[in-house]
């Protein structure tokens, strides 16, 4: 396994239950370090068209919190995984109960993109021990908030560095890599937590470029799009990304 991490996002139950399970095991075989499993939400404001469409498909086929947990519990124990969803599906079940159930199903943490650090503070008390909440840093994050955000990365949490101003699957501009390098440097002065870059990472070349800037990359939309075409193109994309990342450092 390379030093640079590859984090893969999959929407639970997309394109369907069995292909999701096969995609997850392909991911494990191809050297994905952390699997981010998306519990689909009806109003995913941080997500672009690909993840919106995948979420809609999964919701229509009846994917719920409980079924997502059941799918996770069937995956190989050795594959670290984190639950990604929005605030409401967790809130309606009670933070504490939902987090504990997620931990029992093999999740080591949660990613909630509509919960900034100010709101995270009031949810923190409901977090079971050993279950982390992933804080976000964006290119627009101000220096005073950055230190507060970095302090909340505890219990094995990584920092989710949003590469660009935009939603998942957006096109990355030319200056983004420089900006990401600069922000990562500032984060390093504040915390030892690993920094993974996500949003808009589509190709193996992107993975290489951003893998160089930080500790790893998060891939979502492009992997889902590949999976929509079939398991073979999906496996190929991950393999290429893994290879590029392994060649770094």
């Amino acid at each position: 396994m390379g030093a640079k991490k590859l984090i893969l996002y999959l929407t639970a139950g997309y394109p369907d239950g069995s292909r999701f399970a096969r995609a997850a095991s392909v991911a494990a075989d191809e050297g994905v370090d952390i699997l981010e499993i998306g519990l689909p939400f009806s109003d995913p404001v941080a997500d672009g068209p690909v993840i919106q469409a995948a979420s809609a498909v999964a919701i229509r086929s009846g994917v719920t919190f409980e079924r997502t947990l059941a799918m996770s519990a069937r995956l190989p124990q050795s594959l670290p995984r984190v639950l990604m969803t929005y605030a409401n599906p967790i809130f309606v079940r009670g933070w504490s109960r939902a987090f504990s159930l997620a931990r029992s199903a093999g999740f080591s943490g949660a990613i909630l993109p509509d919960i900034p650090v100010e709101e995270l503070a009031s949810i923190e008390p409901f977090r079971p021990p050993g279950f982390y909440l992933v804080p976000f840093v964006a290119p627009t994050t101000s220096p005073d908030r950055l230190s507060r955000i970095c302090r909340t990365a505890r219990d094995g949490a990584f920092i989710y560095l949003v590469s660009l101003r935009g939603i998942t699957g957006a096109r990355i501009g030319d200056t983004v890599a420089e900006e990401v390098t600069a922000v990562t440097r500032r984060i390093r002065r504040l915390t030892h937590a690993p920094v993974y870059v996500g949003f808009g990472i589509r190709t193996a070349a992107d993975a290489e470029k951003f893998g160089r800037c930080a500790d790893g990359v998060i891939v979502g939309s492009s992997a889902l799009a590949a999976l929509g075409r079939g398991l073979a193109p999906f496996a190929r994309l991950i393999r290429q990304m893994r290879r590029k990342l392994d060649r770094l450092d």
């Binding site: 599906p89 309606v92 900034p116 976000f136 994050t141």
Partner: protein
Amino acid sequence: MNLPARPSGGPDRRGYFGPFGGRFIPETLMTALLDLESGYERIRKDRSFHADLRNLLTGFAGRPTPLYRADRLSSAAGCRVYLKREDLCHTGAHKINNCVGQALLAVRLGKRRIIAETGAGQHGVATATIAAKLGLSCTIYMGAEDVRRQATNVFRMKLLGATVVEVHSGSKTLKDAMNEALRDWVTNVENTYYLIGSVAGPHPYPMIVRDFQSVIGFEARRQVLREEGRLPRSIYACVGGGSNAIGIFYAFIPARTELIGVEAGGTGTSLGRHSASLSRGKPGILHGMQTFLLSVPTGNVAAVHSIAAGLDYPGVGPEHAYLKKMRRARYFSVTDREALAAFHHLTRLEGIPPAFESAHAVAGFWKERRRYRKSDLVIVNISGRGDKDIPRLFENGR
């Protein structure tokens, strides 16, 4: 006209009204929200801002609007009823009060591009109108379903120079238009101002929109005291997101006046047939705020329905959730049918066709008219005019 002094009941520094409100949005937007908050605090104390706002509200938006004693409705109902005539505002509804204020704020913050969501198109038209007046670029997000239902408003927005983007995701209505506007804002946050149309969304929007709409209630308070020398016993207003209701309630919160919000009961009480979030919803989180929400047990947002597109929203402003919790305001719903009956009733009795939204307020009052004695004073907020809804009646009539 001035912005109200520091609010009595909130929000607190984190944007909460009791347990409701907050800022549940992606990190990318946090800096913009904090800038908006501090920019707003600055203009509250800025005399030239107040002068500009006053000028636009009087000359452009048509304020003050009358508080009109509805004699025939009064004698039919058996008490003294006044109508607050927001239907006489420029663009046909109270929406312009907020748009004028926020557009001026956008200019002070150096933003030359404005985006907004719209349901029926009233907020979209009001936003496009002030954007034209101030020479700002304007993009309006509107659900494809609403674009189809409200074609003339789409045309109006385009006449005013706005770009209208059809939203095809989800239920293709207001909530999805708001999702898409948020996605645009995340992408263009540095040059774009998001002009939210209701007392909804992340802090500080519920506070800002309330402050700009509170002119309705402060005017009504002055007018009723001048006419009658006393405050009303009750006020009725319709509640979708809740901006016209908060607008008229706010000045009366310290008084003993009963505040009554009327929600859209649609065609039935089961989920999907109404949009009565306060009467039938549960606490939830959507569009940046913790509030009463209509959601299915999985946590996904439920489908909603109302004959009035402006009430067709699964959430509600957090301050209403708080007023309900504190029992300072009371909320119930009337059906599509009751609202339609009230529309015809007011049109025939007073020669004032209300918007279908405002017809809910009239229907709510009518339902409760027997609670009042002859000398009791009641104000009903007519938040908008019915012109936009008349084509629909015409088509149904054929």
